[in-house]
């Protein structure tokens, strides 16, 4: 019996203090628990404060940055077909160049006293319209130069202030990256402006062709009428 008691005691001692699987189990449990909880452990007051700061940032200071809850559709930032501008009245009023030369012709006839005077007046009137067109086109030329000048300040890119301890250095890199991306947005904005200007100047050139187009339509009509005259 004494032997049996001694055996039991030895067995329990080994089981309680020596058995490796049991020792590993509680040790691992502590580590697992710590890993699962991460920085949210409430072992110290700093952990609590950190969790509160994170929550304040996420829900109060910058909820969009944390949740990514930005709906671009609400911004109304795309150009749609409904945004077209009605220019019918402006074109008719001559804002985009002369529409009819009837009044000019009447004025020249009324004011000219000789054939030479008439030719001079025609030439003056033609030059007036030509200079108008030239000044419009020249303004585009200088506007393009101005934009070219303005965007020079957005070309500058230097990588600095990224030094620091550990994650501070990464924060610096991220900060720099944001600046370079903002420069990219600025450059793309200028690109939009330049493309808009390009469309406008192409429109101006197209407008120049409309007088010639009218003359050609007139000639074409005359040609067609001549055919019908012959038929009649």
């Amino acid at each position: 019996m004494k032997k049996f008691i001694a055996l039991c005691m030895v067995f329990f001692i080994i089981f309680a203090f020596v058995q490796p699987s049991y020792a590993g189990s509680w040790w691992k449990k502590i580590i697992r628990k710590m890993m699962r909880e991460g920085v949210k452990r409430t072992d110290s007051s700093w952990d609590d404060a950190h969790a509160v700061k994170m929550a304040y940032d996420a829900y109060v200071v910058a909820p969009r940055a944390f949740s990514g809850d930005i709906d671009f559709v609400d911004f109304d930032i795309y150009i749609d077909a409904e945004d077209d501008v009605d220019v019918k009245k402006d074109v008719a009023s001559g804002e985009y160049g002369p529409v009819s030369f009837e009044e000019d012709a009447l004025e020249i006839i009324a004011k000219s006293t000789s054939q030479a005077a008439k030719s001079k007046m025609i030439s003056d009137r033609v030059n007036f319209y030509k200079l108008q067109a030239m000044s419009r086109l020249t303004s585009y030329l200088e506007r393009a130069n101005k934009l070219k000048e303005d965007l020079k300040e957005w070309r500058e890119t230097d990588i600095d202030n990224v030094s620091g301890l550990s994650l501070e250095s990464i924060s610096g890199v991220m900060s720099e990256k944001s600046e370079v991306m903002a420069n990219g947005i600025a450059l793309k904005t200028y690109m939009n402006e330049l493309l808009a200007l390009k469309n406008a100047v192409t429109g101006e050139i197209a407008l120049l062709g409309t007088v010639n187009y009218a003359n050609m339509v007139s000639e074409s009509l005359n040609g067609t009428m001549e055919i019908y005259d012959l038929v009649r």
Partner: protein
């Protein structure tokens, strides 16, 4: 004795099972205490070193961004004002300039050398025009030097520069130069054949001047040795260097700390984004050049436009002349 043995077995069993059901709450074990002390030390390190920002400049770019973007908006607003001003002022400079040059007191003819014009050299006449145009009074408003007034002044200077650039592109399209050249052609042509020859030569000179303008754009953007191609090659070379540098980091990564590697790769990404910005800036310059070229093509088109207007006017005049009984 039996009772004692049974009670001993019971005590050992209960304590052993109880210990197994409480896995982490114990803190009296020396190992646990050591571990928790180490853990607290680690948290302190995270707080003081890893997560802390000791240099206020680290996030300086982020702090400066709102102001920077505000300046972009301001620049665009100023550009809108500039556009409005320059449209008005350019018309004024053209009108007044042509009046000064082609008016009764105009002496432009003296500066027109037919041999120069025939070879496409308009330097003398353009120098004379520049002198006249820069003295044209432009109203930029009175009062203190406000931002608005500064913008008007910039627009005034630009309009003079723009008019000069346009005239140097299509000099023969400026009515005063055309008239002065016509008068010189008449006086320097002893016969009808010579006059026709001079007219063709002068128009060829005008064409040559325009061809030089257009060709300068082709040379800038087309061909292996063009400035455009060289810039692009440089950008690609720089990007290649950045990518190579990233590759080196990746190969050495086992010798580095992960955070250090992230910072380095991040810096490379900034450099690549910067290269994209360089490309964007070049695209913008190219677009600006395209607008200038289009405007110059448009300026040359004004001759056809003027001829079309002349024909249209003459057609109307013919109609009204018949109505009035002049014909």
């Amino acid at each position: 004795m039996k009772k004692f043995v049974l009670s001993l077995i019971l005590v050992f069993s209960v304590t052993s099972f109880a210990f197994a059901t409480v896995p982490v709450a114990r803190t009296d074990n020396i190992l646990e205490q050591l571990f928790l002390a180490r853990y607290t030390e680690m948290q302190t390190w995270l707080e003081k070193t890893a997560f802390s920002i000791t240099n206020p400049q680290t996030l300086g770019d982020l702090k400066a961004l709102p102001e920077k973007l505000k300046s972009l908006k301001k620049d665009l607003d100023r550009f809108t004002d500039f556009s409005g001003d320059i449209r008005k002022l350019t018309g004024h400079v053209y009108k007044k300039g042509d009046e000064v040059l082609g008016g009764l007191d105009g002496d432009l003819g003296e500066y027109i050398d037919m041999r120069d014009i025939m070879s496409g050299n308009f330097d003398r006449v353009l120098s004379k025009i520049e002198n006249e145009i820069k003295d044209i009074p432009i109203d930029t408003g009175d009062g203190p030097e406000t931002e608005d007034r500064e913008m008007k002044k910039a627009a005034a200077a630009s309009s003079v520069r723009g008019v000069m650039e346009s005239i140097s592109t299509v000099p023969m399209s400026l009515p005063s130069i055309e008239t002065a050249t016509a008068i010189n052609t008449i006086s320097e042509s002893p016969s009808t054949v010579a006059r026709k020859q001079n007219v063709i030569s002068a128009s060829s000179g005008a064409k040559m001047n325009l061809m030089e303008e257009y060709a300068s754009y082709i040379a800038r953007y087309d061909g292996k040795d063009s400035i455009h191609r060289k810039k692009i090659e440089k950008i690609l070379k720089e990007t290649e260097n950045i990518v190579e540098s990233s590759k080196e980091y990746a190969e050495k990564i086992k010798d580095m700390e992960a955070q250090q590697a992230i910072a380095r790769v991040g810096a490379d990404q900034i450099a690549m984004l910067a290269m994209q910005n360089v490309l964007l800036a070049n695209i913008n310059d190219t677009l600006a050049d395209e607008i200038t070229l289009l405007a110059k093509i448009g300026l040359a088109e004004t001759e056809e436009y003027a001829n079309a207007i002349k024909k249209s006017l003459e057609d109307y005049i013919d109609i009204y002349s018949v109505i009035r009984g002049d014909k």
